[in-house]
Amino acid sequence: MLRKRTPIRDHSAEANLFARRAFTAFVFVLIMVAILISNLYNLQIVSHQTYQTRSNDNRINVIPIAPNRGLIYDRNGNLLAENKPVYNLEVIPEEVDDLDAALDEIGKLISISEQQKEEFLDDIRHNRRFKSQVLKGRLDEKEVALFSVNQHKFPGFSIEARLARHYPYGDTLTHALGYVAKLNKKELAQLEAEDLATNYRATRDFGKLGLEKFYETELHGEVGSQSVEINNRGRVLRSLDETAPVPGKDLVLTLDIGLQQIAQLSMEDKRGTVIALDAKTGGILALYSNPSYDPNLFVHGISSADYKALLNPDRPLINRATQGRYAPASTIKPHMAIFGMEEGLVTEQTKMFDPGFFQIPNVEHKWRDWRRWGHGHVDVYKAIEESCDTYFYDIAYRAGITKISDFMAQFGFGDLSGIDIKEETTAILPTREWKEGRFREPWWRGDTISVGIGQGYWTATPIQIANSINILVNKGKHHPPHLAQALRRDEQVEVINNDEKPPIVLNNPRHWQVALDAMHNTVTKITGTAHKAFKGATYDPAGKTGTAQVVSIAQGERYEADKLKERHRDNAIYVGFAPFNDPQIVVTIIVENTGGGASVAAPIARQVMDYYFLANPISQGKKEPQS
């Protein structure tokens, strides 16, 4: 084929063709380079900011730093909840040459269980080798010392401290302070819903109960952060900058730990509760529910055996002071007396005859007085001093339930007391509507009679009873009961719970004095029910005893057949205050199933008041609350 045509090559034509093609190719190259450059221009100049940010997101990790939880102090500055270092033995796997040998060796110094070892090895497998892992948590002092002396033999092993909540008074304060424990998923979801989750990124513990729960936000503080540079495997290379966390506020209570300890001691092994209020402020001086338990068990996760032990019939988990529902019984007779006078049903001078029972006209049933033979001729003073039932049956019958409920609601019955813990129930101040809703049955006239002596459908929590007495001794002024009086951070004190509720205004303020005088007589007169218990007291006490038929002790209580009898015994109640002329302290005692408000509850109140006036002698006046 070639030979047929021109055998001679036209070299210059070929060279020209080639040169044209080479030139075309070079133009093509230039075009392609222009495309590359325009793309790079786009990346490096137009979108530079975006990629700069993404590059920083890659390399900068923000590590949250947990704030220190605020401490809790009593009114005299005693530390009630503190943050104590907990020591963990930790290991950085990549710094240990022979891990198995090192584990054997450390096992000779510090006992490490098989389970701890397994969990540790599992953690190592699932994490980067430069990440520190806990081998054993919560070392005791001896173990810390043993390791510290031998640390040089264990490269890669170290003791790391973190702060954990500790309650030095243990079970004395459980129902007031509550406790913290590990933040759980449900709480985290709740925090997320409230947009607070970022503040908890480094936090381990969360208030679960009591004051720790109520003041969680204030005690917690604000999370800090540290920016660090990391590589692609998450290893921290250097620290860039740091924002210090803001520690939580300290909580100053109205509580007096000494009085609280006396309250616990005086209860011995009886079930019940002691509440002492500062009569001037409504501040709680002592709030103890027996039996109690050690809150420290919960901080590090309670074992199932320990937890099961708390689920016993004595129900230590229940806060009896705020969750226990008791018939207020005779402790509300002073309130009823005021009610009767205000309603004009009786006067200060009215006397009636008590045959030992009350009867509705034309009805067979007899409502009996506690004294079978009756109290004879009774006026309002004697009715309170000797706790005459018939007198109040009569007032209640004549007034009717609606007026009683409306009046008693002013004293806080049937409502939350306002105490700064969340474990509280309203109990029941009965009304017609309540009964119809609850039992689908109308209110019978007879139902009202026993309400007149604080029985029947009426139940109240000890904190409600204490609050109602405090309103009484303050002649209508209403300071809701509270445990905390101030928040404090860096010497900055913020007074809290200082509010008053609207007072109760009587048509005739003289009626307050009648009820209070009668309560005074209860203690001072030899015929008074509390006379014996307070014989010789120097601080001029006043009070009222009560012995309540058991309705129920607490919400959800299940009676077991063989316990039934014991659990059906009467509850002993005492409410009291002192000094009579200028009340400083209001004490409420309830002891379950022992009977005898005068013989069991009043002596406990005496111990608490004796301690209080020993520590706060009247001549010097009461200590000013801290602020």
């Binding site: 080639f18 190719a25 070079f26 700069q52």
Partner: protein, 367 residues
């Protein structure tokens, strides 16, 4: 730039084209600096890299001494042996990272590297024997010479190298003056064949790469990770860059394959657009010089070979930069003269040796 004189300079005597030589030297110096940074200041790696560079320079010097006429004599045996070795790789080759690319005959090497030179040489020899532009029949045989090794390499699989080899052969045909009409119809044919190639010609991992390329953010932690991190490195470099050894994407190891295929991203991050433009400038100079040598070569074989090798060099540049900056799918082509890695650098510099041989032969004839 190179004055044609009767006096034979020392460079011509050792068959060195000085402008090309200096440009290559500048690239090597740049490569050392960037590999030092990309390797995390690994001196052991620097030792190996500079040793290989030295080896590659020696290979270049040797190839520069081989005259084009000698090349023409050995081209058929080299091509045939290379093709046989490619066949052998498919049956007795050594596998690594899911691809069977190596032959072990005392030392481990990739026969495809030989073919990077042998294919354009063989096509240039075959087409250059006859008149330019080549006739259809010659063109067909030329295409067969290109396609046989290309398909064998694609089977290994090594899509990157097969693209480079196919383009080196096709550049010879283009430079030889294949008519534009033919080029147009071939382009249509390729366009029509692409869907078929997608279904029958590509491995699953190659398809994945293309899909990832089309939308890298769809799989930010898997196969899209490379390209996302690379774009972050390039983009965050800005105009001036973060400074040598200061690139956080590379120094903190977010960037994968940073001393090999993705070294351009390291350069872009640390030296910014200014550094990138400088690099592209040097590349353009090398390409311009290579084409200049080709145009001025005496013989058709020399013209076609020097031109095709130069343009193939550009394909390296374009494919690598295109892939790390997100214009092309990731196909595993190193950045020529900069990336860490032995074989490709030896082959590249051997190619430049051949170009220098072609350049200096002309001068000898001129004398």
């Amino acid at each position: 730039m190179t004055p044609v004189t009767n006096k034979v300079s020392i460079w011509q005597r050792v068959h060195i084209d000085l402008p090309l030589f200096l440009a290559l030297l500048a690239m090597m110096a740049g490569s050392l600096a960037i590999v030092y940074s990309a390797s995390g200041q690994d001196t052991g790696m620097m030792m190996r890299h500079s040793t290989r560079m030295g080896g590659a320079f020696i290979a270049m010097m040797i190839c520069a001494q081989v005259s084009p006429s000698t090349l023409k004599r050995v081209v058929i045996p080299v091509y045939l042996v290379g093709t046989l070795m490619l066949v052998a790789v498919l049956f007795v080759g050594v596998s690594s990272k899911g691809a069977q690319r190596w032959l072990n005959i005392g030392i481990r090497f990739q026969p495809s590297e030989i073919m990077k030179l042998a294919v354009p040489m063989c096509v240039a020899w075959y087409i250059g024997r006859n008149h330019l532009p080549p006739k259809l029949s010659n063109l067909f045989i030329g295409l067969v010479i290109v396609m046989v090794p290309t398909l064998l390499i694609k089977e290994q699989p090594d899509l990157g190298t097969s693209i480079l080899i196919a383009s080196s052969g096709i550049f010879v045909l283009f430079l030889a003056g294949v008519s534009w009409r033919l080029i147009g119809s071939l382009a249509v044919l390729v366009g029509a064949g692409a869907p078929l190639f997608w279904h029958y010609g590509m491995h699953a991992y190659q398809k994945q790469r293309v899909l990832t390329f089309l939308n890298p953010e769809s799989d930010p932690l898997g196969s899209g990770y490379h390209i996302i991190q690379s774009k972050i490195a390039i983009g965050s470099g800005g105009i001036e860059g973060k400074g040598w050894l200061q690139g956080t994407q590379s120094q903190l190891e977010f960037l994968p394959e940073r001393h090999t295929d993705f070294i351009f991203s390291v350069l872009s991050e640390e030296f910014g657009l200014i550094g990138v433009l400088f690099l592209l400038g040097v590349y353009l100079f090398i390409i311009a010089r290579g084409l200049y040598i080709a145009v001025n070569a005496q013989e058709a074989f020399g013209k076609l070979l020097a031109g095709a090798l130069t343009l193939t060099f550009f394909v390296y540049v374009f494919v690598n930069i295109g892939m790390v900056s997100g214009l092309l799918p990731v196909v595993g082509v190193p950045l020529p003269l900069i990336s860490y890695g032995g074989t490709s650098m030896v082959t590249l510099l051997a190619g430049f040796g051949i170009i220098m041989s072609i350049a200096t032969e002309k001068r000898m004839l001129n004398k």
